[in-house]
Structures are given as C-alpha cells and as structure tokens.
Symmetry: C2
Subunit: 561 residues, 2 copies
C-alpha cells in the first residue's frame, strides 16, 4: 500500500527530466534531478519465497557491478563539481525486490526461453529521493532481471561514492515494444572462442536484448560438435581447438538463459553447406566448383543434394539431433541464397528430378517440409531467411518466422503473406558493411553493402515502415547481424559495440520515448556515450563514438552546434 | 671467405621460389623450397666486440619469439601433412651475427634517430639448407635489427618444432627503398595509454617501420606534461590519469629507438590549439566560437593569436622545451587547417595587424619563422603539413619536410617547389575513413573521407606518381595515419593492423619485388595473412582479412577464382 501510494504521489509530482543514462530508455519514466547516494551498506532485500538461484545470481552480479564497474558522469570534470552535493545527499540503503501477480515463480532461465508471446519482461522501479527504500517489482523473474539492468545504469561513481542525479525516479510497467531483440553472430567464417560469446552475452543482457541468433556453421567451417555426427566437426572445423563441444554449447545456452537471452541456433540449408562434403562428399552438389561466382554467393560453392533421400534423412537427422538439445522454442534452417545453377549442373540432382518427375522448386518444397517436420517433432517453430518466402514458391507453415535481410523494403511483402517477421535488413543492421572488399585481387573494392552502417543509421530504423496497423503484431522485433568474413576475436567487440545497442533500444522502447517524442539520435547520443563507457568499464571493448571532449559536452559536437 | 663463396654459389643455383611469409618482402631474395628445422639447442652467435646492450636485447627478444610466438603455416592442415619431412629435415644450430664495414659500433637506439639520409638499415641474411650455420651481416646494429625481423618471420611451428620451408635462402643487402616508413597516431581526440603505444611500436618494428609520428596534442586535449608549462596538461588533459608524464615520454621514445623507430613528435600550431585556452585564455582566438564550422574543421574552434608577441614567445618556448628533450632530428609544427575567419573576426588579431601594418599572411610567415627558428636552435629539421606550402605564401627553409595529406595529387606540386615530402595522403592512407559520421545529429552521415581505406588500396599507392626521376630523391617515404575521433584503446589494434603493414612494404620494398615484378595485392595477400596471424600471436589484435578457409587456401577466394 505504502509503496503504491508513494508511486502515485510521485507520478503526480514529477515531470520527465532529461536523463543522460539508461539504455534502452524505459517506455514509462518520470524522474526528478535530485542527487542520492548509495549507502556503503546498501543491500538488495528479496521478498520472494524460494527465489530461483539464477535470480539471486543476477542480483549478486548487479551488486558487484555497483561496487566495481560504475563510471564517472560524462560531464566536464566528470562530476567533481557536484562533490559537495553528492556528499550531502541522502543515502539509499535498500532495494526491495519482489514479485507480484499470480504467475508461478520460475527461474530466469526458464522464462527467457518461453515462446516470444509468453515472455513476461515488464517491471516497475521506484527510487525515492529521500533515501527511503527503493523497490523493484515484476510479475516474473525475467522482469526483475530487466529491472536490475535499469537500476544499475542509474548510478555513477565519484571518489568511490556511488550516486545518481535522476531521483525521485518512477518507472511503472516498463515493458518492451517487441519481444525479439537480437544479435546475430556468424561463427563459421571465422571462429570465436566461448569466452568471446559469453562477453557478448553480458553486453546484450546489459541492454535488455533477448535473443542470440547463432549462425554456427556455414560452407567454410563446421565448428559444432554433434554426438550423432561427430565426423562433421572432426573434418569440418578449422582445427580441433576451434570446435564448440556439446558441453560448450550447453554452457553458452545456459549462460545466456540466466541473463535473459534465448539462443536461436541456425543450421543453414540447403545452401551454405559445402563443408559437409569433407565428411560426406556424396551429399554435396557443385562442391568447390569454379568459377565460384556461378554457383555461390561466396567461395566455396557447394549445396546439399536436396533431391536425394539419403541427404534428406541426413539433414533431418542432423537438425533433430541439434534442436533436441536446445531449450529454445525456435530453430533456424536458414534457406538463403540457394543457387539454381549448382543444381542445374549437377548430374545426380538432374537424374533424381527426372526420376521423380519433380521440378527443382517442387523438390525444394519437399526438402523444406522435411526439415520443418523434423523441427516440429522437437517442438520447435521454424525460422528462415526471406528467400524461402519471396524467392521460392513454398508452402510454409504459418508458424514460420521469416527474417528480412536483403532489404528493409521487403518486410511488407513478407507480412502481406501473413508471416511473422524479424527485422534484420542489411541496409540498416549489417555490422560487416563498409570494411572493404574481402575477396582477393580487387584493390579498389568496397564491401557488398557499403557504406558502414552507423549506430545512428540503425537507430533511425522504423520496424513498422510500410505496414498497416493490423499487420503490426506480425513484427516480432529485429536484430543487427555480424557476418564474420572480416571479423575475428580481435575486432568482435569493436565492430559490434556500442552499435548493436541501437536496435536494442529501437525494439525495446519502440517509436517514441517516455516523453512522447519520437526516438531521435540527437537525444540518444549522450546516453549512447554513457552506455558505451559503461560497457568498456565492464570489459567490453566498445569503441569511442566521438572525441572524449564531445562525450562530456552533449550536443557541442553536433553539426550546426 | 667461406661464407662469401657459399653466398655466390647459392646465388648461382637459386631461383626465386614463391614465399608465403616475410613482410615487408626483401628487395633481394633468392630461396629454395627445402625444409629446415630449428635445433632445440639453436643459439645466436654474436661476433661483435662490445655489442651494444640494446642489440643484445633485440636478439633476446627474437630468441624468445622463436620459442613462443611462431604460427602454424597457413595451409590446409596447417603443415601437418609435412610432418615427416619436417622431422627428417636438417637442423639449424646457429645464426652468426656480425658487423661489417668500418662504421663505429653504435647502439640501435642511436642509429634509429640519425637524420634519415644517414640511416644504415641494410643487412644480408644467409640460411643454408644443410644445417650449417646461418649468417646475418650488416654494417650497422640497425641493419642487424632489420635482419632479425626477417629471420624471425621465416619460421613456422608444428607440434612445438620450429621449421622453415624456404631454404636455402639468400638475402644480399636488403635495404629500404625509402628511409621514412611511418605510422601517425593522434592521442588528443582520444587518449591511448603507454602500453597501447608500446604494443603498436612492437608491431611497427616487426614490419621494419622507422617512424612513429606522434600527433600528441590538439584542440580537444593536451595530454603532454611539459615541465616548463605544467598548466597545459594540468588543465588540458582529459583527466590526471590521461597524461603522458615526461617519464612516460622518455620511456616511449627509448622503447621505440631500441626497436629501430624514431619518434617524430608534433605540436600542431597555430590551429588545433584551442585546449591551450583553458590555461591561457588570452592566447587563443575564436575559442569555442559558434557555429564551429565557420571557424574550424571540427569542434572546438580556437587558434593561437599568432600576431601576439606573447603568443609567439609562448609557442617558441613550448616547442623548444618539448623538442629539446627528444633525440629525433625532426619535429613537426603541423600547420594544417589554419582558419582565416577565426582571425578576421578576432579584435585583438585585427588590432595587432593594424598596428604592425602586416597582412595575416605576413604575420603567419613571421610566426612560422619564429617556430622554425626555435626548432633550429634545438637542431631539429622542421616538419609541416602541406598547407604551409600550398595554401600560404611562406618562405620556408628547404630543410623543411612537408607531409602530403589532403590528396595524393598534391605531392607533385610540393616537390616542384623543391621540398622533401612524406606521403600520407588521405585518399590512400587515412585509417579513420569509412567509419561513419562522428559529428552529432547526422543519422545518414558518412565519414569525410569515405570509403574505408583497405589494405589493398594502401598497397597500390605509388610513392613516385607524377614525379620526374630527378625529383624521386625528394620522396622520403610515407605513412598511414590514425586520427582518433572514432578510435580509442578499444579499437586501436583492429583499426590499424594489419592495414598499416601495407605502407611498410610499399616503402621498404619499393615498386617491384625481388622477382622484378611490380608489387601486386594478389601475390601479397598470402603474406599479409601470414604477418597478420603472427601479429595476433604476438598479442596485437590484428583483424582477419578473410574467412580462415581462404587464409589457408591462397587465391581460392579471389574474384574469378
């Protein structure tokens, strides 16, 4: 009661004061501009019966972060000018964490992998300015996890004192505009150790992202150990030390789930599979054919012989074996860039088609259905890239989630066919663009998707462009993607962060901020600097977006400032 | 005698076999394709009376590298297929290191900072295939240092056995085509700790670069401690922990010199100096004026009041104080982007001009002469950016070295005026291009010098373009540059390496390789991969240029492969 009254009172008294922290911006926020210190004896008081272990671990991580990875405020002098104010400010001793509603109390890791429409991420956070207890309330442990990230981001440090300057603060029922807020990582063109993926998951969780889309294998390498098909990684990995063992995968999936992140794994078929030819030559058509341009989007060429019964059995067996071990409700079979010339020139495929009397498109439909049935048997909803809907005449289940990638202008056409979509358009969200030509022998070449996609460009993406209101529910969210032809552990953080935080806010906060104004790069820049400095303090090598001179002087480095 | 005869014999017998290692490519190279192992008891035998300590340290570093940072060969299987051949190969027990000629024996660190025309970097390396002693001979310790880098790069590792497959090898008198092979780092827009600079110097030395052009201060921050002017860094550094103390500078300069690198420091005047206004407001015109575009190339605006006697005395005093403590024969006063509107709108400057009866250009000439005289007093040759010659009508000493930056097409015009040049054109060598717009409030903005300058683009640079043979001696060399508006310790390595190795080869090897063919990105790519993997093994976060599948399959990822 008291808390509720407090809440209402504050809501009445407060306007929205500009904040230079919090990413993504909560959808509901009223706050003041008073200072408050974190008491040296600050503690989280958890009033949840049988609180799940992974929730308590999340609270412990937040507690450690408040002591070790806070940043100084990004203003000239880094906050020193407010030293007296800070030292004389009231102190906060406790954050009361509780669950409301009548949902069963489940571990964060269970709630993080529920079907998207069932995820409960809403939370309310109240931080009075007088030092009386703050409260974080949600109707799910996943919601509590989201609220903890917001709470951590409120605080700055000066001379070892943690403080905030945006209280009283009231966030009531902050919940994401879209459930799918992802990042896609390609671990096949170049390999990334488990530690790099975990660090990426930490950063994703800090900005409330919900999905790691793991493009784990491709034509260049097969770094995934599968018990039933050990030959694939034994022969297809770059080396025995560049393999995700089944233990590694479990470790990553569990690490992610505890941080509110679902791992959507992708095994891209029938294209992007040449590496399988090392273990099963007879399964692959046009393997390493020349010139590769004729048979594939990039070297090496090679696609599964989709007309072969043996290949269909292998593929469905592989998909089932991998999907079966994952908690996610989704699994991606890719399906992009299927090359027709490869099959047209393949004698076995042509013989199979002649024998069956099917066209290639009909055979592809049979193949895709077999893969989708295999996923259905494991209780997974299928995810595919856009060509499966736009380039081929297939009869896909409406359960299928379709990923837009070739162009943001393709979303409407897919939605028109009544499929749910994930927005991952290369013209806004591809992090590999602008790094130059990676193919050899092309001195003046640029990347296929120039220019570099800046955080600002990604931030201006409109998830609902070209869609009618009744179609809006079909947009599940979106993600930025890192294809790794020119990426490796050496530049993973710097090419991804803080840029990937752009879509995290676009898909959490939605089209307008809590003040009702449309999202705007000018308003966002100081907060983007803030989250970047926080990520660096947390050990993520996020790059500087401007000279530090600009980072501590909001708006003074604008064009026409 | 024996060695000489061996040399001649091998030269007669050998053709140039393709090598996939060595960066930069030696200008003279004959080699076979036999295998040779490094004996577990391998040692360097130094026959140099009173060998300088820093030469012995360099040999120790090479010795450690041979044991700890060799890479596996970049072929499918990473060399395992040659296991038997390697295990049955002869073993090399010793590399005999000696000096020839009659030059005085000097420490590497003394030879590295000599005037460019006096540097002796030539070396000869002979590695027989039968296990008999190899030899490294030079007429200077600096030459020995260059040869050690070549020797280290010959070796690969397989199952803890170090081996090479390019013997017998004979390099006779490999010497750089140009003495100035640099890299420029801006430490003012964002700060880089000493450890980052040292790691960069290690990488530079590994590819035989000779100069670190240190753009240490600018309008955004003054991270340089100067004993006589402590207020500049006290008030102008981003923070007290973001300052290069005089001890740090000595440490960096000495670390560099021991690795064959001269530190050319730059204090850019009269523009790019606004930060000085914090300590000396009266010295700066148009400080933080608005709109900044009218008064500077980027925020904040602010330039030294060059017409003021007090400012001239301060500037010459500052330059002298910094230059005096550095061993280099050169010092840069910058001089780029002097903004006329800033001075036209500055009352004091206008009053000074009226009183003196000088035009702004005449006053600039007086100012520049004063700075050059201050450097001459310290025995330094002045270095300036191209505008000092092309945009202003100044009477510069012909000792002046001019840096080309605005366009590669400007080189000829500067050379025509009989100045020596360093090639640093933004259209080939600016590493910051292509990262998007860093100024605020410009969602679709690109960088001012798009596109991204790939290693391939830099590699195709012709240092002698548009010049007549008699003008060639005026080209001292060149460098790639990192301006740090969007760079920080988080992406220093990934934005610089391996790209900066391109110019290291262009300016060492010159226009043609040892086989007489023009430098060619297609031939260079496997070696660029090789040096990139070596840099990573040494702890430099150099990025992947292609999928590893391509890195171990030379030429198969070419366009039209």
């Amino acid at each position: 009661m008291l808390r509720t009254r407090g809440c209402r009172l504050i809501t009445l008294l407060l306007a929205f004061h500009v904040v230079s922290c919090l990413w993504p911006m909560p959808r509901s926020l009223t706050n003041g501009s008073d200072f408050l210190r974190l008491s040296s004896g600050f503690s989280f008081s958890v009033s949840i019966a049988e609180a799940p272990a992974d929730l308590l671990e999340a609270i412990d991580r937040t507690s450690s972060a408040l002591q070790s990875t806070l940043i100084e405020r990004l203003v000239v002098g880094r906050g020193a000018a407010d030293s007296d104010t800070i030292n004389n400010a009231p102190t906060l001793s406790s954050l009361e964490v509780s669950l409301t509603g009548n949902l069963p109390v489940r571990p964060v890791s269970e709630e993080a992998v529920l079907p998207l429409e069932e995820r409960q991420e809403s939370y309310s956070l109240l931080v009075p300015s007088d030092g009386s207890a703050a409260s974080l309330v949600a109707n799910s442990t996943l919601g509590i996890l989201r609220g903890l990230a917001t709470f951590e981001q409120m605080w700055y440090v000066l001379d070892e004192t943690a403080y905030t300057n945006i209280v009283p603060l009231s966030i009531e029922g902050d919940a994401p505009a879209y459930p799918y807020r992802g990042f896609m990582l390609d671990t096949a063109r170049n390999f990334f150790p488990v530690s790099d993926i975990k660090r990426t998951l930490d950063a994703m969780s800090f900005v409330k992202m919900s999905t790691l889309h793991w493009h784990v294998v491709d034509s260049q390498s097969f770094p995934l150990e599968v018990a039933e098909y050990p030959e694939l990684s034994e022969m297809g990995a770059y080396s025995s030390s560049q393999v995700y063992s089944m233990t590694d995968v479990n470790d990553i999936v569990s690490y992610a789930a505890k941080r509110g992140i679902d791992v959507l794994m992708e095994i891209d078929v029938p294209g992007h599979t040449d590496i399988i030819s090392l273990a099963h030559p007879s399964f692959i058509a046009c393997s390493e054919a020349s010139p590769w341009q004729k048979f594939a989007a990039e070297p090496p060429s090679g696609q599964l012989r989709l007309t072969s019964r043996a290949v269909i059995d292998f593929t469905t067996g592989l998909l089932g074996a991998v999907a079966r071990r994952l908690p996610s409700a989704y699994f991606s079979t890719g399906g992009d860039e299927v090359n027709t010339a490869c099959y047209m020139g393949d004698l076995q495929t042509q013989a199979d088609l002649a024998a069956s009397g099917m066209t290639l498109e009909e055979a592809l439909d049979v193949f895709v259905h077999a893969t989708q049935d295999a996923l259905a048997d494991e209780g997974k909803a299928p995810v595919v890239w856009e060509e499966m809907v736009l380039a081929h005449n297939l009869t896909l289940s409406k359960e299928t989630v379709v990923m837009v990638w070739i162009s943001s202008e393709h979303a409407a056409e897919i939605v028109k066919r009544d499929f749910r979509i994930v927005q991952a358009p290369s013209d806004y969200f591809y992090l590999d663009c602008g790094g130059g030509q990676w193919l050899g022998n092309d001195p003046s070449g640029t990347s296929w998707c120039d220019p570099y996609k800046t955080w600002q460009k990604a931030y201006t993406f409109n998830p609902l462009a070209d869609l009618t209101p009744d179609q809006h529910p079909l947009v599940l969210g979106g993600q930025q993607c890192l294809w790794a032809e020119q990426a490796s552990p050496e530049n993973l953080d710097s090419i991804v962060w803080p840029r990937a935080a752009s879509s995290a806010e676009v898909f959490w906060t939605g089209s307008t901020g809590p003040d009702g104004r449309p999202l705007d790069v000018n308003e966002a820049l100081p907060r983007m600097h803030d989250v970047r400095y926080r990520l660096v303090k947390k050990g993520v090598r996020a790059i500087a977006l401007q000279p530090e001179w600009c980072a501590v002087r909001p708006f003074q480095c604008n064009i026409n400032a």
